[in-house]
């Protein structure tokens, strides 16, 4: 490449930079910063977990439209579920967009930015299940329950049915790994957990080998299906064809009508633990986005936005204290309460056990 072309390329980059800089500055003049609360939202909008990012974003958009609070603005950034990209987005939101609070979705990405908050206090709402994230700074509040809460609710159901020997089939994912860790930690002496198979990629859809292993090997009382959307219906269809009779349980991933419909009768009797998303929210969400996937994630985000609606001004203490004062809050995923355990701060919501019967999700009392 000759020098002329290099200079042309550099010139193009500089021109775009100037335009961007100019547009940013002009935007700043329009906004009276003391009256507006700017919320930076970092989500995996591309990459393997983009469906979660989309669900969370939809929850925020729905709340924004319902509340119609002109004082709160949202700026979305893509993390692609990558720690370095999340830090880049975090710095961009703080430096250029001058946001007052950041929402971040994901365990590894929250772990990456939490130390930045520790050194430089700034309100962060982390959609993370890891207590260490909440322990990092008084300015971090987790919007998820811990994996331990999920594991406790799951064990409570399994013990009520006297299911002790548990096999698990799962996709490698920090969220699922956290749950399996907690299930293992809280098992009793006579209870057993065996990971039958780990699938490295969410695109793995052939589970026949695992099912044959389950059918022909060790006798499990129940099988934990810790798979993602798109995999779940495939697993159940293949299990049905291969005659697997062992009862199954799963995660919040099961609360997806598309999966249930795609699996047909094969998912009958499958049990899972999740938040109880309100019917009104389900209807509103379906009407707005023509989807009923990952509603719990959308509901969590919806509640968080609704809580933020009560913030009076944009200083960091007011913002974080708004979340810390949450008590008996009637959220769309159930009653929310701020909890502080060993320095970890999070917004608790109760888990419920649900069962799929004839394509319909029912609550187990």
């Amino acid at each position: 490449m000759n020098k002329k072309n290099v200079w042309i390329l550099i010139g193009i980059i500089v021109v775009i930079g100037i335009i961007v800089w100019g547009s940013l500055n002009s935007k700043k003049k329009e906004i009276p910063s003391n009256q507006i609360i700017k919320v930076g939202v970092i989500l995996p909008l591309t990459g393997p977990l983009a469906q979660y990012g989309e669900a969370v974003k939809n929850g925020i958009v729905l709340a924004e439209e319902k509340l119609n609070n002109k004082k709160i603005n949202y700026v979305f950034e893509d993390s692609a579920y990558d720690s370095a990209k999340t830090i880049t987005a975090f710095n961009k939101l703080k430096d250029f967009d001058k946001v007052d609070v950041i929402f971040n979705w994901g365990d590894p990405t929250s772990q990456a930015i939490a130390p930045l908050i520790k050194n430089n206090p700034f309100p962060l709402v982390a959609f993370s299940t890891i207590p260490a994230v909440g322990q990092m700074s008084p300015y971090i509040v987790r919007a998820f329950d811990s994996s331990k809460d999920f594991a406790d609710a799951t064990w409570s159901y399994l013990r009520s049915k006297n299911l002790k020997n548990i096999g698990i089939i799962k996709t490698e994912n920090p969220y699922f790994n956290g749950i399996v860790d907690e299930l293992t930690k809280s098992k009793k002496v006579d209870e057993q957990i065996t990971v039958v198979d780990n699938y490295l990629s969410p695109s793995d859809k052939d589970f026949k080998t695992s099912i044959v292993k389950i059918n022909s090997g060790k006798e499990y009382d129940t099988i934990g299906v810790f798979l993602l959307s798109g995999q779940i219906n495939q697993f159940y269809k293949q299990a049905s064809v291969l005659g697997m009779k062992i009862p199954t349980f799963g995660t919040d991933q099961f609360e997806n009508q598309n999966e249930i419909n795609a699996a047909g009768d094969a998912m009958n009797g499958a049990v899972y633990v999740n938040y109880d998303v309100s019917d009104n929210f389900k209807t509103d969400y379906k009407n707005r986005f023509n989807s009923d996937s990952l509603l719990a994630f959308a509901g969590l985000a919806y509640d968080t936005v609704e809580m933020l609606n009560n913030v009076k001004n944009n200083d960091k203490d007011s913002i974080i204290n708004t979340f810390k004062m949450v008590k008996n809050y009637p959220g769309v995923i159930g009653e929310r309460n701020f909890v502080e355990i060993s320095g970890d701060q999070y917004l608790f919501a109760p888990y419920h056990v649900k069962v799929i019967e004839n394509g319909v999700i029912k609550l187990i009392k």
Binding site: V20, S83, A84
Partner: protein
């Protein structure tokens, strides 16, 4: 300001990576798709040594380099039996093996949960916790790696590497030990990549396997192809373009519903156009 400093730090770290790969791919003609593995070895060495043993960051760099050197020597010896596409496939396989180790050796690497809380470097009481100091440190190491690479490629050793790239058989006729040259540059490249990994771990303060996947190796390869193979300045220019371009696209005012996807599409389109009109890259001297 933190944002700009952050971008420049990333440019520094990825420049080290790109220069290291350029030695192997650009100057020697070995199509290696495994640099992320050595990047990861350096990152995990630093993460584990700093969080579990409290070792000094600079010592962890050296240990990371030694581990990467030993591993790359073993794997390079095996890969040296292959040429062209087979070399690429072998290195591809190696990246997958290392990634799987990061993922599954949970007692050491904590698997997909990753290692958090990696401290920043401290040297003679000087704490590099400030991003500005960290940037200065990265800049110094990037300069050292750049100068070292320039020295290697301008030396008689470097000329033999280029000759191997152009015609391996011909250089063998003159009595050169091809295995020695290939293996040496492969190990040097791996050790440099490990340095970048150490800086990455300490800067991000968190490592998990997803940062060292095959797609990361491909990203580094794209950097040097775009910047221009067999040119150290090209490696740095390619890094600047591929780190800065996606960031600039963050500021283009797409509607939020499609912004992330549109950015990726535009990014991809620019890459295709550049490859169509600049197949040798921006400052390249050699085409794969």
């Amino acid at each position: 300001m933190d944002y700009l400093i952050h971008i420049i730090i990333l440019i520094g770290i990825y420049s080290i990576l790109a220069i290291s790969l350029n030695l192997v791919v650009g100057f020697t003609g070995l199509l290696s798709i495994t640099q992320a593995a050595f990047f990861g070895i350096g990152a995990y060495a630093t993460a584990i040594l700093l969080t579990s043993f409290g070792i000094n960051f600079f010592l962890s760099i050296i240990i990371g380099m030694i581990i990467a050197g030993v591993v790359s020597f073993a794997i390079g010896y095996v890969l040296s039996k292959f040429n062209d596409d087979y070399f690429a496939l072998g290195s591809f396989g190696f990246n997958i093996i290392v990634f799987s180790i990061f993922f599954n050796w949970q007692s050491l690497t904590k698997g997909p949960l990753g290692i958090a809380g990696i401290p920043k470097p401290v040297l003679f009481g000087l704490d590099f916790n400030s991003n500005l100091y960290f940037l200065a440190l990265v800049a110094v190491f990037t300069l050292i790696v750049y100068l070292l690479s320039e020295f290697i490629t301008r030396s008689s050793f470097g000329r033999v590497l280029k000759a191997i790239r152009e015609d391996e058989k011909a250089i063998q006729v003159f009595g050169y030990n091809i295995l020695y040259y290939k293996l040496t540059i492969f190990v040097i490249g791996a050790m440099m990549a490990s340095v970048a990994g150490s800086f990455f771990a300490s800067y991000i303060t968190y490592v998990d396997p997803s940062s060292f996947s095959l797609s990361e190796s491909i990203f580094i390869l794209v950097i040097i192809i775009l910047g221009g193979l067999a040119n150290n300045r090209g490696a740095i220019l390619g890094t600047i373009c591929l780190i800065v371009l996606p960031e600039m696209l963050r500021f283009v005012g797409f509607p939020s519903e499609i912004a992330a996807q549109m950015r990726l599409m535009i990014y991809g389109l620019i890459m295709v156009l550049l490859m169509l009109y600049r197949p040798k890259g921006l400052l390249g001297e050699y085409r794969l």
